[in-house]
Amino acid sequence: MNIYISSLFEGFWLNIRLFILTLAMAIPLGLVITFGSMSRFKPLKWLVRTFVWIIRGTPLMLQLFVVLYSPGLLFGTPMKSRMTAAIVAFVVNYAAYFSEIYRGGIESIPKGQYEAGAVLGMTKPQVFFKVILLQVIKRIVPPMSNEIITLTKDTALARVIGIAEIIMCAERFTKQGLIWPLFSTGLFFLVFNGVLTIVLGRLERRLDYFKV
C-alpha cells in the first residue's frame, strides 16, 4: 500500500510544482498583457487582444501539444523537457485569463480617482501604484481565487504530453486492477484546494478595511 501512496504523492508533487511555477510567472506576465491590451497604440492593442482571443478560444489541452511539438517542427529545435513545455503552455494560458481579470479590475476604477490624483500633482505612476493598484487588487481577489482553484485541477491536463502527474500515476494501478488509488486522487485536490480557499479567504478579509 505504501508504494501506491508514495507514488501518488510523487505525482501530486508535479501538480504542485506546475501550479506554483505557473502562478509565479503568469501573475506578472498577465499584467504585461493587460498593459498591452489597454495600450493607446492601436496596433499593439489589437495584436495583444487577438493573442488573448486565441489563447482563451482554444483548449489548453491543444495548447500543450502545440507548445511541445511546434519548436521542433518549425525551427528544428525540439523542446528539451516536457515539463518546460507544460510550464510554458500553462503560464501563457493563465496569463491570458489573468490579464482579462486585471483589465476588468482596472477599468472598474472610477475616472475620478485618476483625476483626484492628477489635480494633486501626482505623476501617472504614482497615481497607479499609490491610488489605483490596491483598489484593483481588492476587486480582483475573488475572480482570481476562482481561476487559481481551477488551475490546481487543470494541472492534471499535463498528462496529455506525458507528464506523470497524480492522475496518470494512479491510472497505472487501474491497469493492474486496482481502482482505489485513482479515486483517492480527488482527496489530494480537495485538501489542497481547501487550504487554498482558506488562504485566499484570509487575503480577501485583509482587504475588508476599506470599500471600493
Binding site: 472610477p110 483626484a116 494633486l120
Partner: protein
Amino acid sequence: MPILEVRNLSKRFDDTEVIKDISFSLEKGETLSVIGSSGSGKTTLLRCLNFLETPDTGTITVNGEVIFDAADPASRSEKGIREKRLHFGLVFQSFNLFPQYTALQNVTLAGLLLAKERPDYKTRKNEIREEIINNAKAILDSVGLSSKLDFYPHQLSGGQQQRVAIARALALNPDILCFDEPTSALDPELTGEVLRVIRELAERKTTMIIVTHEMSFARQVSDNVMFMDDGVIVEYGPPEQVIGNPREERTKRFLERYFENGNT
C-alpha cells in the same frame, strides 16, 4: 495684478462647443461663484483650469505667469502641467477620496510624495514628514474633523467626506481653490456643514471659484457672480446685481425657473 487671468478660452467636444471664447479675471482673496443650468459649460471651465481638459484656444495666466497657451504646444508638456496645476486645487462633486486611506492619509498623501522631490528631503526627511502631517492635522481640525483622522472614507458621512476632500485640496496650499458643485451629491441635511466650511474659507480670504446651484449661498459668500449659459458668460458682477437684480433676460429667466422650483 489679478491672480488669475483667463483670455479667450474655448473648448470643443466633437461637434459641440462647450466653452466659447471666455475671458475673465480674479483678484487675490476673491470668491467667484459660477452659476448656470446644467450643460452651460461651468464644470468644463473648472476642468480646463485644472488641466483635466485641454482648451482649444486661449491663455491662462496666474500671478502674471502664462501657465497655459493653446497656441504654444510647449505649455502642454506633461511635466510642466504637473507643476502648473498645483496653482489650482479642485474639490469634486463626488469627493473622489481615496478609499484605502484614512482621512489623514488622504490629506497627506500628495504632499508626502511631492516632498520627495525636494532637494533637502534626504537630510531632513523626518522633519519634513512631521511638518506635512501636523499641517494636515491642523487643516482637518479647521474643517471640524479632528476626531476623524483615522477614519476611512466609507466610515464617514457624505458631508464629512467632502470636508476631508476640501482639506486635501487645501493641504497643497493652492493659489486658487476650485469647487465643482461641492454639495450636489449630498443629502440636503448635510450641505450646511460643507457650505459653512467654504464660508469660513471666504472669510479668511481664500481665492476661490465655486461652481454651485446654491443661489442664496452664492449670494452671501461671493464677491462676484458669473452667470454662464450655452458656453458664454452672460452676466458678471457683484451678487446683489447678478442674483439680486439681473440685467440680462437670460439671467432673469434662469433665476425665475430656479426660484419657481421651490429653491431658496
